[in-house]
Amino acid sequence: MGRKKQQNLFVFFALAPAVICFFAFMILPTVRIFLMSLFEVNKYDAAQTKFVGLNNFITLFTGKIDGTIIPEIPLKIATSLKNTLFLVVIVGIITLFIAILMASILVRENLKFKNLFRIIFYIPNILSIVVIAGIFQAIYEKEFGLLNAVIGFFGMKPVDWLGTGSNTIVLYSLAGAMVWQAVGYYMVMYMASLSTIPEHLYEASALEGAGKIYEFFHITLPLLWGTIRTTLTFFVVSTINLSFVLVTVMAGSRSDNEASVILFEMAKQQSVQGYAMAIGVITFMFSFGVSVVMNAITKRETYEF
């Protein structure tokens, strides 16, 4: 009996610190987002804080505030959601395409320096997002930037990659930085998964005279599909995060209109706590929704080996 009690004590003291910290610094802030989105918060006088139901959401979606309508509010939210979705989709497609291509080359082909290539491709993933922003500011710099130097070599005129006014080019520039950052990570994930595919499957198809491209679409891709779907969910979360930090660091105040992403709107509204939290709820819903849709689109019959 004493032994059982000892065990309970040990379990309790081993778990308590972690559970308390997890509760205080992860669960509470998350709950606060959902809870405070239903309140109009008065920062200076807590007693003035009142429950307003879905009012914050109505304001965000219609611009209706105290009887008047401000059309900029829903417009900004819509733009930032559109931009976020654009980045998730574009960056997602390009990153996964390159990552799968590189992973299958490095695992399937008998080439030299494979290890060196793997080491290099993973480097962007170990850099701080601030460093990546700095690197891409140097690449996109209008006067002496690397990209303009490269296209100048081919006789093209310099482009203002991060310039305002032309909405799409800033977003594509951001997307470029995000792909650069993400490819290595997903490549390594897919390499681990690809190396478990039994060699005899490829031998059998080679015996039947199948080409490399046929092999890729009929063996590699179907067997990798499960891993791809798992990584997609994490990809959505990390892209929403990355786009926020990149926009904050790279575009700064200029991203007021063109390149805003959803979390950026939340940070801008932080003094009006109710709105900010309502935007937070929208972000959660958005990332959950995108994940669900992606899951549905990518649903295939799973193959086992």
Partner: protein, 292 residues
Amino acid sequence: MEKKNKFYRVILYAILIIFAVTIVVPLIWLTIASFKQVHEFSGASTWALPQTWYFKNYINAWVEGQMGTYMFNSVFVTSLAIIFSLTLALPAAYVLARYEFFGKKVIQALLMAGLFVNISYIVIPMLIQVNDWQEFLRKLFNNEANFFINNHIALALIYASCSLPFTTYLLMNYFKTIPNAYYEAASIDGYGHFEIFTKIMIPMAKPSIITITLFNFLSYWNEYIMAFTLLTDDEKRTLPVGLTFLKGAERTLTDYGKVYAGLVLVMLPTIIMYMLVQKKITEGMTLGGLKD
């Protein structure tokens, strides 16, 4: 056939090399440009080498840009956060992996859900929350201490807490693979729960402790948004935050050399560590291969 094969290999190498170049060239260019003087950026060619290796950029970044102070802050916050994360996650992961108790399923499910909550999602509510708590504590103790805002220890604890889902998950999976026989043998030898954990299980979990510490080191060292939000005092900033201010100041002065020197200072420790660990990982992989 032989010729076709050769052509195919050339294409493969070309793809790999092009991609490698897009990664390596900007890094090397940046490192070289960090030795250039201000006037070399506007006039000379982008690809030109620096006229002289102008080390003063680094001194400027280190002293004027306060990167020295920020480096110290980053080292302090990162090491403390690593210590916190291991002290919190190791016992929790061990208990979750090897004991049965009431509420275990709930804790595991919440931790799993935590994997999907990114630090960026909760940075604003975190700020509001710790502001409230700080006000409360200041009133309680009747002083003006920085309990959460501008407090490195609190930041380290927040880092450790936010990485708990991943850290616990990885360690828990490792503890599950340790055979029960070790546990039973130690029990028979008269070891208590705590002794089995500290004297037998932790040493055995060393490989996964190293792995998770490396991942955590990178994420703590590189973290920007939480540090930017919670450290408002100039002196308290960590390296990534300090770097953005170096860049902010640069916009008027256009001292690119200093900014690039700062960038190199931030990424150098991670790249050095990555290169060292990379070797270890490859060694580990070949060792594992020999055993099979």
